[in-house]
């Protein structure tokens, strides 16, 4: 090595060393997310396995700023729908071979089941105060993400004047056979949507909704795609599926924000018990709840953050304006009873 390149490499490593030390400070943009001891312990563990019910690709992009701040902890993302993650978490725990460290699930009732079964460990996040009471179970979970359900229409085939404005407008006979959504059986988000419709407008609404002969497709991305392509005129979908098509691909669809409010589902983030990297998990989870983590999430997915200091994604109105409605604590019996009732009314299997 020539003296010049030696000097260059020494100064580079000094620079990188400084950058690493700076990057691993326990505060993010002035917000304390960890103690120095936690950061050190996390770095010693060196890795975290993150189970998420959100898209793989989105989550990897969201984790990138964390990786830049804490290059000593590498994040592995495993994505699946909540039901399948639940099955993995339960089986790994029972076999004594826990792989996942931290998880985001889309169903509060299921998270409660995991807490009761001691599959989740207590967690007091230093940023907990930024989360409203409806978006956390203090000491256990915090809504690191969430989804709002809204009506959507195709702007090529439906004029703005004809577009639905209220939830009741979906029952207009002109939409018969031109309406799509997903069945209640696909997960917590769909469950919350049907619970909202029944609680707000009564059972009769669901009967009249069924009379509209809605197409029930197995996933929300299929519902949005069929509306965007003009196969269906309107539908009820998760805004998370609607947003990337509307904003990134310029699909001819527009969202409707009914003044009666819209169902909002919390996606709780939890720390898994007996996990191999508990400190790295806590550091990652705290960062995910921080302003930086939530801002990245909002930009990447078009999701909403319940934190008041995080602005919504471009093209989305503030969450408060949408009058989000949450079902609150739900028992397993009430959950199953609604599934049976809605399946019977809508004739889904």
């Amino acid at each position: 090595m020539s003296p010049r390149s030696l000097i260059l490499s020494v100064s580079l490593s000094c620079l990188l060393g400084t950058a690493t030390v700076q990057a691993q400070q326990p505060a993010v943009d002035g917000e304390t997310i960890a103690t120095p001891d936690l950061v050190k312990a996390a770095c010693d563990e060196g890795a975290v396995t993150y189970y998420t019910a959100q898209s793989d690709d989105d989550e990897r992009a969201i984790a990138r700023p964390f990786q830049q701040r804490f290059p000593c902890v590498s994040v592995s993302v495993i994505s699946a729908v909540t039901g399948r993650l639940y099955e993995r978490i339960e089986t790994e725990f029972q076999a004594g071979k826990v792989v996942g460290d931290v998880a985001i699930l889309t169903d509060e009732a299921l998270v409660q089941k995991l807490i009761d079964a001691k599959r989740i460990r207590p967690w007091n996040s230093p940023v907990a105060a930024q989360y409203p009471a409806s978006a956390k179970l203090e000491g256990w979970w915090y809504a690191a993400s969430g989804s709002i359900m809204i009506p959507v229409y195709n702007t090529d085939s439906v004029g703005k004047q004809d577009a639905p404005k209220f939830w009741q407008d979906l029952l207009d006979p002109k939409w018969q056979g031109k309406l799509a959504t997903s069945p209640i059986t696909i997960g917590g988000t769909a469950w919350a949507a049907f619970d909202f419709l029944k609680e707000k407008f009564g059972r009769d609404y669901l009967v009249r909704f069924a009379a509209q002969q809605p197409k029930l497709l197995p996933a929300y991305n299929q519902v949005v795609l069929s509306i965007a392509r003009g196969e269906q005129s309107i539908g009820v979908v998760s805004a998370l599926n609607e947003y990337p098509l509307r904003v990134a691909q310029g699909a001819p669809i527009a969202p409707v924000y009914p003044p009666e409010g819209s169902p909002y589902t919390n996606y709780p983030m939890v720390l898994l018990a007996n996990s191999p990297h508990p400190h790295a998990a806590e550091l990652f989870a705290n960062w995910y709840l921080s302003k930086e983590g939530q801002t990245t999430l909002v930009k990447q997915r078009g999701a909403y953050s319940v934190r008041a200091d995080v602005v919504p994604a471009a093209g989305n109105p503030p969450l408060a304006q949408l009058h989000p409605w949450s079902p609150g604590h739900v028992t397993a019996q009430a959950h199953d009873a609604l599934v049976a009732e809605v399946s019977q009314i809508l004739g889904s299997r």
Binding site: I186, L217, Q249
Partner: protein
């Protein structure tokens, strides 16, 4: 003899661990109220409740009837298209038969999810390209893929290559002397086909038909994309729903899997054994072979036109649709003018697909998984098929039954069985690529064993006997006589495994980690995110890659099997 018994015992142990363990765990789980996770069986919760819930759910019998009807329609179509194409390409002098042969199998390289999506783009009632073009010339609706006929057609064209592979292998192995003899005693072309060619290819015909039928019973992607929008419901989507439920109704899903297994095993396998047991299909014997193609005479060009028309509709059209989707920035066009708007076209998605490290990693993982599945799977399947069909060793019947156990159990459920059982085995495979390979080998064993068995039963035992008499041992006889003669069938099984393992994702859903994610799962994730143009670009890359591998493989095999007659 003792060595033989040791060999069979070893095979029984391996297949029991690979197949019986996960399937038995699922079967026991279907009678419990709590899932048998990590082999924890709560027998206090013994119940028929899962079966009562499944059988008593409203619309179950209609669901079953629709599933079977669609599978029968699809299988019939696939068999007609596949046999006709295989015969044209392998046994006749039709012009362009080499191209016919290469192109006929390409639809199988497209994942069913993407294939269904391509047909959705082409033939959905309102926004399908065919209907948009038809409307521009005044026809309100030309086609509707969201119908029983539409789905049956898509089933048929995506599963016709499987029939083609099996039947073409059998036809290639057939001695033309038999056809020639029929012609010499005055039988016409049609009579020769009906009385000689078809009966002699029956094992392949049955294997292929059964394989396709079973695959169509469990296929999820095509009905999810095309049947649900038309209000047509099938069992596979129901199973998917049960597992996606929160909390997942895995015990009910297992019960449904067990019911499907019973239904298909009892009826079809008995039927197959009965049909196959009645006749001899030996066409590869110690006498020399002639492989002259049948002369079609005046029918050459009409049949050529027919064959290529089918290929244009079944292969070229959906490929063009995928190319259009991959090149267009979005999928949203209301009329013919918007469809071809040049502003919308770009090659960017191919760059994204090749540049993404996750796509590259999962592609490498898929190649590794496929390679492992083919190597280990084919060795195991050959050993099982040979023991069952060419020996009289005790335990061979048990091997036969074990090898078909995973039939009709959807991959998602097999993956669940592996998660529940293999996580407890003290060899630490959970979380590695090996558990995915083993689950695939287990899941594809009915297809793999049958593909190899179909070509083994065509070989006359006199060839092996002759070799043994000349002093060659069993291994040497296998190496120099049986394997070379069964090569077309083994190659068909390898191609089948390559394709099945490359595009399977449901089995891996419970087993993968970020380091072992496979290509099909990445594609599924991209699809769920709505990046349909990236999915199309990835599907085209996959199809191109698989096709190249298969063409090179076929070329290699042809080179290696020149004059395979016994020496």
């Amino acid at each position: 003899m003792t060595r033989g018994r040791v060999f069979v015992t070893l095979l029984l142990v391996v297949t029991s661990l690979l197949i019986v363990l996960p399937v038995a765990v699922l079967a026991i789980g279907s009678f419990l109220s709590e899932p048998p996770r990590a082999l924890h069986f709560a027998f206090s919760g013994l119940t028929f409740g899962n079966y009562i819930a499944v059988l008593g759910s409203p619309g179950f019998w209609r669901l079953l009837a629709t599933t079977i009807t669609l599978a029968v329609v699809g299988t019939a179509g696939a068999v007609v298209f596949g046999v006709a194409l295989a015969w044209l390409a392998v046994r006749t002098d039709v012009p362009g038969r080499r191209i016919l042969e290469a192109v006929a199998i390409t639809p199988m390289f497209i994942p069913p999810l993407v294939g269904a999506f391509a047909w959705d783009i082409l033939a959905s009632p309102k926004s399908g390209i065919i209907n948009i073009l038809a409307r521009s010339i005044g026809i309100p609706q030309a086609v509707n893929v969201y119908s029983l006929t539409g789905i049956g057609f898509v089933f048929a064209i995506y599963y016709c290559p499987y029939v083609f592979l099996f039947v073409a292998a059998a036809l290639r192995n057939m001695d033309a002397v038999l056809e020639e003899a029929a012609r010499m005693v005055g039988a016409g072309r049609l009579r020769t086909i009906v009385d000689i060619t078809i009966p002699l290819t029956l094992p392949a015909f049955w294997s292929a038909g059964l394989l396709v039928f079973v695959l169509l019973i469990e296929i999820f992607a095509i009905p999810a994309v095309l049947a649900e929008p038309g209000g047509i419901h099938v069992l596979s989507v129901r199973i998917w729903e049960l597992v996606g439920f929160t909390p997942p109704k895995v015990n009910e899903a297992s019960a449904l899997g067990v019911l499907l297994l019973l239904l298909i095993t009892v009826t079809l396998v008995l039927l197959q054994n009965r049909v196959l047991a009645q006749r001899s299909f030996i066409t590869v014997s110690g006498k020399g072979q002639r492989r002259e193609p049948t002369s079609l005479g005046a029918w050459r060009w009409p049949l050529c036109t027919l064959g290529f028309t089918y290929l244009v509709i079944a292969v070229l059209l959906p490929f063009l649709a995928l190319l259009l989707i991959a090149l267009r920035r979005n999928l949203f066009f209301a009329n013919a003018k918007a469809l071809f708007n040049p502003v919308q076209f770009s090659f960017a998605q191919f760059g994204v697909a090749f540049g993404d490290p996750v796509v590259r990693l999962s592609l490498a993982n898929s190649l590794l998984v496929s390679c492992g599945t083919i190597m280990l799977g084919c060795t195991l399947y050959f050993a099982v098929a040979y023991t069952v069909h060419r020996t009289r060793l005790p335990g061979r019947r048990a091997l036969d039954i074990i090898s078909i156990m995973p039939v009709a159990i959807p991959g998602l459920i097999i993956g669940l069985g592996y998660l529940w059982s293999w996580i407890t085995l003290p060899i630490g495979l959970y979380g590695t690529v090996w558990i995915i390979i083993l689950a695939y080998i287990s899941q594809f064993s009915p297809q793999g064993v049958r593909a190899i068995a179909a070509s083994l039963v065509q070989i006359h035992p006199e060839l092996e006997e002759c070799s043994r008499l000349c002093g060659a041992g069993m291994l040497r006889t296998l190496r120099h006589v049986v394997i070379p003669l069964a090569r077309p069938g083994v190659l068909a099984a390898m191609i089948l495994l390559l394709v099945l393992s490359f595009r399977e994702f449901a089995t891996a859903l419970f087993l993968y980690t970020s380091a072992t994610q496979v290509f099909s799962l990445t594609m599924f994730d991209v699809w769920e995110r709505g990046s349909t143009n990236l999915v199309a670009a990835m599907a085209l890359i996959q199809a191109g890659m698989l096709l190249s591998i298969v063409l090179v493989g076929q070329r290699f095999s042809r080179g290696a099997t020149v004059a395979p007659g016994p020496s």
